[in-house]
């Protein structure tokens, strides 16, 4: 093989990674730059390759350069080379996939899906960050993102006053509580599953978990551009729930929720059970009068997790729970709902560029502080972990809790 052919092999793009719609979207980008104003990672790093605009124009130019030859070159389009691909790859992975760019785009380009397709392309070309390979190996070998033995998924329950009898794969349970890797393996957020199961116990919900049979939902691989590896995880998880015969799967993790609700049906067809997020589940219990809420002492604000809000369209359920607390002092942050700022914990950026992830989180913590709130409520274990870590690092005295912890506290003893 000639040197040129070898070089081309590592830089040759396949348009087959993109759908026809995405190709049209790349051609339809007006280059107005509205996305730049709203991009949380660009706001911190100010490197142009991070901007949605740059990613789209670069990929469009790569494709035109590759497929149109001299005619394309006349307009400045070049097929990618090592340097341009490296720059593009950095920008593509330094993105939290928060999807804010989609909300403000005048053309309504579905940016999040586009960034994932771009990452798939980069994985095929072996231009992705090396850490993503380690993530893939870990998930494939341990079925979780931390690399701990998967049987320890219920380790968080050890600190409960009484370990619930139905904890591990109880047949006949009506609800399967799917924890997600973060809640299961990161002690910093153990309080979320602890709170959630205590609520279910007190309300009398017949629930269980998948125990060691709970595998990673596949979300971290999908967003890394390694979606093909997630199919087996999906099949296993769905089969495990079906085996228990539960009618509902509930999860506190919005990323797991999105994957189960919107991605799994594409892989396994009709699930045969319903998928709900913990905030919806708790809201329904509150609305039905099964949960009685008392007062909560501190003024609070609410952080919309990207995968719950923009990606899955759930903005109201957590707010309805908050508003159901008598006398609650609730203030929205400057950027909320569809314009909410990312906590910095999304898109695997923490792995690709930890400092950038922290910088994004800092901005959000400061926004929360500006409301005068003493507590940030969120509905995501990853957001809680990121915000908690940022607040500690920045020495900001603000408490970060999940909506299930808020509910448990407001329920009293």
């Amino acid at each position: 093989m000639s040197e040129e052919a070898k070089r081309d092999q590592g830089t040759k793009l396949s348009i087959g990674h993109f759908t026809g719609r995405q190709t049209l979207e790349m051609l339809g980008c007006t280059r107005c730059g509205e996305c730049i104003k709203w991009c949380p990672t660009y706001a911190e790093a100010e490197r142009d390759e991070i901007t949605p605009l740059d990613k789209i124009t670069t990929m469009r130019s790569f494709l035109l350069g590759q497929y149109t030859g001299p005619l394309g070159r006349l307009f400045g389009h070049r097929k990618p080379d090592d340097a341009s691909l490296a720059r593009y790859a950095t920008g593509t992975y330094d993105c939290t996939l928060c999807g804010r760019c989609h909300v403000v785009c005048p053309v309504q380009i579905r940016t999040r899906e586009l960034w994932i397709a771009m990452r798939e392309q980069l994985v095929e070309l072996n231009r992705h960050p090396e850490l993503m390979n380690r993530l893939r190996e870990t998930v494939n070998a341990s079925h979780n993102i931390s690399g701990d033995p998967n049987e320890r998924r219920t380790g968080w329950s050890a600190n409960l006053a009484q370990v619930p009898a139905s904890l591990d794969r109880q047949k006949g349970a009506e609800v399967v509580y799917y924890l997600g890797c973060v809640a299961a393996f990161y002690p910093m957020v153990y309080s979320i599953p602890q709170a959630f199961v205590q609520i279910m116990e007190r309300v009398g919900v017949r629930w269980t978990t998948l125990g060691g049979e709970e595998w990673c939902c596949g979300f971290p691989l999908t967003i890394a551009g390694m979606g093909a590896d997630a199919d087996e995880l999906a099949r296993h998880n769905v089969a495990a729930v079906r085996e228990l015969g539960a009618k509902t799967v509930v999860m506190a993790c919005p990323s797991c929720y999105h994957t189960w609700k919107h991605e799994y049906p594409h892989i396994v067809g009709d699930l045969g059970f319903q998928v709900v997020h913990a905030s919806e589940f708790l809201r329904d219990l509150v609305t039905a009068g099964r949960i009685k809420l008392g007062a909560y002492p501190d003024p609070i604000t609410y952080h919309d997790p990207c995968d719950l809000g923009r990606t899955s369209g759930i903005y109201d359920a957590p707010r309805e729970i908050i508003q159901a607390i008598p006398g609650i002092q609730f203030t929205e942050m400057k950027d909320s709902r569809e314009y909410s700022l990312c906590c910095g914990g999304g898109g695997d950026v923490e792995m690709a560029d930890a400092a950038l992830s922290q910088a994004v989180g800092k901005r959000r913590i400061l926004q929360a502080q500006d409301t005068g709130a003493k507590t940030i409520v969120t509905a995501c274990q990853q957001c809680k972990r990121t915000l908690l870590g940022t607040a500690r690092r920045e020495k900001v005295r603000i408490k970060t809790i999940d909506v299930s912890e808020l509910v448990l506290e407001a329920m009293g003893s």
């Binding site: 348009i15 087959g16 990674h17 993109f18 759908t19 026809g20 719609r21 995405q22 190709t23 049209l24 979207e25 051609l27 339809g28 980008c29 007006t30 280059r31 107005c32 730059g33 509205e34 730049i36 104003k37 142009d48 605009l53 740059d54 494709l63 035109l64 497929y67 149109t68 005619l71 394309g72 006349l74 307009f75 400045g76 389009h77 403000v104 005048p106 053309v107 309504q108 380009i109 579905r110």
Partner: protein
């Protein structure tokens, strides 16, 4: 304009149109290489095309077509989202977009009308049964008709105002979100040349054809220019040559813009309304 000159014009015009067509074909070929949901990734382009046409037809005869049209008009052409975001940007964009569109349509209709329906055969009907001898065609064929002249000059002026704001944002105010590169400047310069050149060509036409003042006045900018240029001691024959040269240059600039469209940022004028309308249909859950 002499017969030979028109032949040169049409040969050049068709050649440039063919180039534009070739670019569109290349883009379509690339596009058909992309994945079509529901089909294997390695499906042939022909198969993809057949499926896409099928889905399009299904979409046309579904309720989604209403959503498509509403989004196409309100978001793709009236740009209501941009209006809510920034009124000045909306004004600049809309004036350039609509003027370019309307002037392009007017010029095309006039060109076709002049070439094919002038002189109009008596009692001849158009393919849809409308007599060709009617006031609208008469108006479009006659560039000195007050309505045609005012429309052409008016929209040219509106476009210039819009271009001023576009240039001011990009090079004066320097909005931080903008990324100005060579091709952006080239396109804006070409657009400005097209509009300004249009006025110059009009002035030369007034001089070449000896259009009387009471008719030329409906194109006031061109008329004013012709009064100034007319101070030069040149014969009508010379003005005819000058007019043709400038007309040809004007036409080449427009063709250059057309040629640049598919492979440049300029293509968003066609694609973004389509994308916004398709996404609106999908958001509502209709067939797209």
């Amino acid at each position: 304009m002499g017969h030979e000159r028109l032949i040169v014009f049409w040969i050049a015009h068709l050649a440039l149109l063919s180039l534009f067509g070739l670019e569109i074909l290349i883009l379509a070929w690339i596009w058909l290489g992309a994945r079509v949901p529901g089909l294997p990734r390695d499906a042939s382009r022909l198969r993809k095309l057949a499926v896409i046409i099928g889905r399009m037809l299904k979409g046309i005869f579904s309720r989604g077509i209403i959503t498509f049209i509403v989004a196409l008009v309100l978001d793709g052409m009236v740009h209501r989202r941009l209006f809510r975001t920034d009124k000045l940007r909306w004004f600049a964009h809309s004036t350039v977009f609509w003027s370019f569109l309307i002037l392009g349509v007017l010029s095309t209709i006039t060109g076709v009308a002049v070439e094919f329906f002038n002189p109009i055969p008596a009692n001849r009907l158009s393919p849809i049964g409308i007599p060709l001898q009617n006031p609208i065609i008469d108006m479009l064929v006659d560039m000195d008709n007050p309505v045609t002249a005012i429309l052409n000059e008016g929209f040219g002026l509106i476009m210039l105002i819009g271009l001023f704001f576009v240039l001011w944002r990009r090079y004066g105010k320097r909005d931080t979100q903008l990324r100005t590169k060579g091709p952006d400047t080239t396109l804006l310069v070409l657009l400005a040349i097209v509009v300004l050149g249009g006025y110059v060509v009009e002035a030369f036409r007034f001089l070449a054809e000896g259009v009387p003042a009471n008719e030329a006045i409906f194109g006031p900018i061109g008329y004013l220019l012709s009064l100034i240029l007319g101070l030069l001691p040149l014969s009508r024959e010379v003005w005819e040559v000058v007019h043709f040269v400038f007309f040809f240059a004007h036409f080449l600039t427009v063709s250059l813009l057309l040629f640049a469209m598919p492979f440049s940022k300029f293509f968003h004028t066609v694609m973004s309304p389509l994308v916004v309308a398709l996404n609106a249909v999908e958001e509502k859950g209709g067939a797209a």
